[in-house]
């Protein structure tokens, strides 16, 4: 048999897949040669060093993925080399395998103590070497996976924190109108405070406390914030918003994760508010005059995200006077624990509320919390909102541009004859009025048809006031004079929901005509209800502040419209809104 035809033996195996670079450190050349030879057969590129200094240089220069170091060497011994290399590797995992002819247990233990990951005894057994390389590679792989996942986790936490912070910081409310304290227990808080004004000028405040912190809370917060913002700005009522958040969380959140909330709707004049407490501690109202707690609104609903059907959400109307303060806090506040393991508790909380000027409640609570807590870290997120009951600015009507299209100076003629690009007629039966809030639905369609995002707030006021008038006075026959006092205001709304529930017949016919172009346009609204109507000939704007509640909305609508008239027996209203 000629040398050429000799069959391949194990002496010349095909090189394995490339699997990294091995640094071999030994002062003795036969070991260097044998080990390098074997490693090459395993698919490694090899670098050799015959002493410690060379080894460290090679490590820096070549960035090997595995290191083999002889223990007994002149100069720096193997243990020192290993320590240097581990330090220089930093967060990169580079397995170090010691080579030793010494097999006593102490030496082997010392190998591991010095940062070695394994050892090989000399003379080297190729089978053992292969097994140890595979073991080292498995550890490296595991380490890299853990590192990658750790980085991913940190990245995601960072991301969640940014998103969460950004989402919550977007509150558009002017500073000074309310006071908010947020103390997170961990990386970021599982609490959220949302504030938004509805198109009618009411202030919506939502304080939420997620079970759990961190990523889990952020996941739930995103849809909650989104729903709160968009539904509030489109004029939906708090029960509808809560119900939608509940529905979303229910489908989003895993079992066991839920959101306790307090939803407050403060009317524009600051003299009445309604609240829904779903699983948070009592909402307190402190009287601006007597500095005593005058209302407590306990939780009457389940937190959001627990039941699939979120029925029976009722906003409890509460009468307040300007100067009163509404205090909402998460349970983290009264459950704050100091260094002695003592809770802050309800008694301390209440004495902080009542002992002092009502204007300083927020400061007192914050200082009281700090005094009580000392240096002790929080174990739950603490969030506190103090909301002064004061009239606040409604949407800025000064920005609404009033001008008629060219050649339409004659208002009356325009109202009667002008025809627009489109017309939209709809009849709504009383049964539908019980289940849906019509104003946001109408507004959304109009916004799309007319491209009038900047007019949305004013237009919403007009439409919702006209609708309220048609429903309350037309279909339900309510007398708006009930609303002449704050107590009556609350009675009015109770009466309204009772009558609406009992309503079986009646309808409202609504007709829109309009035209819009380049940011300007007009909208003609006609609403006819099937009710009794009223004596519109004697309808006058309210003159005094005493008549704060009755028919106020209608006058607001008239102020926003170019033209507003009643016809028929008072059951038909026509309005023209121009921008």
């Amino acid at each position: 048999m000629s040398p050429e035809s000799r069959p391949a033996t194990s002496a010349t195996p095909t090189p394995a897949q490339p699997r990294g670079k091995a640094l071999v450190v030994d002062d003795e050349s036969t070991t260097l040669l044998i080990l390098q030879g074997l490693l090459r057969k395993e698919g490694f590129a090899t670098v050799a060093a015959s002493n410690g200094v060379q080894a460290i240089e090679s490590f820096e220069r070549e960035s090997p993925t595995m290191v083999f170091v002889d223990v007994v060497m002149p100069g720096m011994n193997g243990f020192e080399v290993a320590r240097h290399i581990k330090k220089r590797a930093g967060k990169r995992f580079v397995p170090i395998l010691f080579l030793t002819a010494i097999t006593d247990e102490n030496t082997l233990a010392e190998c591991i103590a010095a940062g070695g990951d394994d050892f090989l005894t000399k003379p080297i057994s190729p089978i053992l070497l292969r097994a140890k390389i595979m073991a080292a590679e498995r550890i490296t792989h595991l380490y890299e996976t853990v590192q990658r996942q750790h980085h991913q986790l940190l990245f995601e936490q960072q991301l969640a924190r940014q998103v969460y912070a950004k989402t919550l910081k977007d509150n558009t409310i002017e500073p000074g109108e309310m006071f908010i304290l947020q103390r997170p227990a961990s990386v970021f808080s599982g609490d959220l405070v949302l504030v938004e004004k509805s198109p009618s000028g009411a202030l919506h405040v939502l304080l939420g406390d997620f079970t759990g912190h961190g990523l889990a809370a952020a996941i739930g917060a995103l849809p909650a914030v989104d729903i709160f913002r968009s539904m509030t700005s489109r004029g939906y009522s708090p029960p509808e918003i809560l119900s939608e958040i509940n529905r979303k969380l229910r489908s989003f959140l895993p079992t066991g994760l839920f959101l306790a909330v307090v939803f407050v709707r403060l009317h524009q004049d600051g003299q009445a508010f309604s609240v829904c407490n779903c699983g948070l501690p009592e909402v307190m109202v402190v009287d601006g005059q007597t500095a005593k707690i005058k209302h407590r609104i306990p939780s009457l609903c389940l937190p959001l995200g627990i039941t699939s059907r979120f029925n029976g959400v009722r906003m409890n109307p509460v009468e307040v006077n300007p100067g009163d303060r509404i205090i909402i806090a998460t349970d983290g506040f009264v459950e704050v624990k100091n260094a002695d393991g003592e809770f802050l508790g309800n008694e301390r909380f209440q004495s902080l509320l009542e002992n002092g000027e009502p204007e300083k409640i927020f400061e007192r609570l914050v200082l009281g919390l700090d005094d009580f807590l000392g240096e002790t870290p929080l174990d739950d997120d603490v969030t506190l909102v103090v909301l002064p009951c004061e009239g606040h600015k409604s949407m800025d009507t000064r920005n609404v541009l009033f001008s008629l299209p060219d050649g339409t100076d004659d208002q009356a003629a325009f109202l009667e004859t002008g025809s627009g690009d489109w017309e939209w007629n709809t009849t709504v039966k009383s049964t539908l009025l019980k289940t849906i809030d019509l104003a946001p639905v109408l507004l959304r369609n109009l916004t799309d048809l007319l491209c009038i995002h900047d007019q949305r707030h004013a237009l919403f006021t007009v439409i919702s006031e006209l609708l309220n008038n048609a429903i309350d006075h037309g279909l339900l026959g309510l007398d708006s004079r009930i609303k002449d006092s704050p107590e009556g205001f609350i009675r009015y709304f109770e009466e309204r929901s009772n009558r609406l529930a009992a309503l079986t017949e009646g309808s409202i016919h609504i007709s829109f005509q309009g035209q819009a172009e380049a940011g300007h346009g007009w909208l003609r609204i006609r609403m006819e209800d099937s009710g009794e109507g009223f004596d519109h000939a004697h309808w006058q704007p309210p003159k005094t502040r005493h008549n704060l509640y009755g028919m106020r909305g209608l006058h607001l609508a008239r102020g926003l419209c170019k033209h507003l008239t009643f016809e028929g027996r008072g059951n038909i209203v026509k309005a023209v809104y121009v921008w």
Partner: protein, 121 residues
């Protein structure tokens, strides 16, 4: 104590030991043996120098390396003698016996070189 009397007769050279380690790679086998022969004189001179100058540490490390190399290549007789030498140097035993052991090791080394030469390695 005369080391000769207590020592069993061992093979000067067992080629299978290195062959197994290099996985029957004849080229690598030759390369290792060549490096071994090249390095040996330096190891011996370090052992002698260390003993002469009282640097037993230096002598010990050289003996340790030599023993390791001898074991790697299957130079069994040399490995046994240098192993014994390494132990004595580690114990800082510099008696006449130890020096005698160096001479024995050098003789074993010569026998090995003759064998390798005969084998054409």
């Amino acid at each position: 104590m005369n080391p000769d009397k207590t020592r069993k007769a061992v093979l000067v050279f067992d080629a299978d030991i290195l062959m197994e380690q290099v996985m029957q790679d004849l080229d690598l086998f030759r390369e290792v043996l060549k490096a071994f022969q090249t390095d040996i004189p330096a190891h011996f001179s370090q052992i002698r120098e260390g003993i002469a100058t009282g640097q037993t540490g230096l002598a010990y490390r050289a003996a340790h390396s030599l023993k390791g190399a001898a074991r790697n290549v299957g130079a069994l007789e040399l490995a046994e003698l240098t192993g014994e030498l390494e132990q004595r140097l580690q114990d800082e035993n510099l008696e006449a016996d130890t020096v005698r052991l160096i001479v024995d090791a050098e003789a074993a080394m010569d026998r090995l070189c003759v064998q390798l030469d005969v084998l054409g390695l």
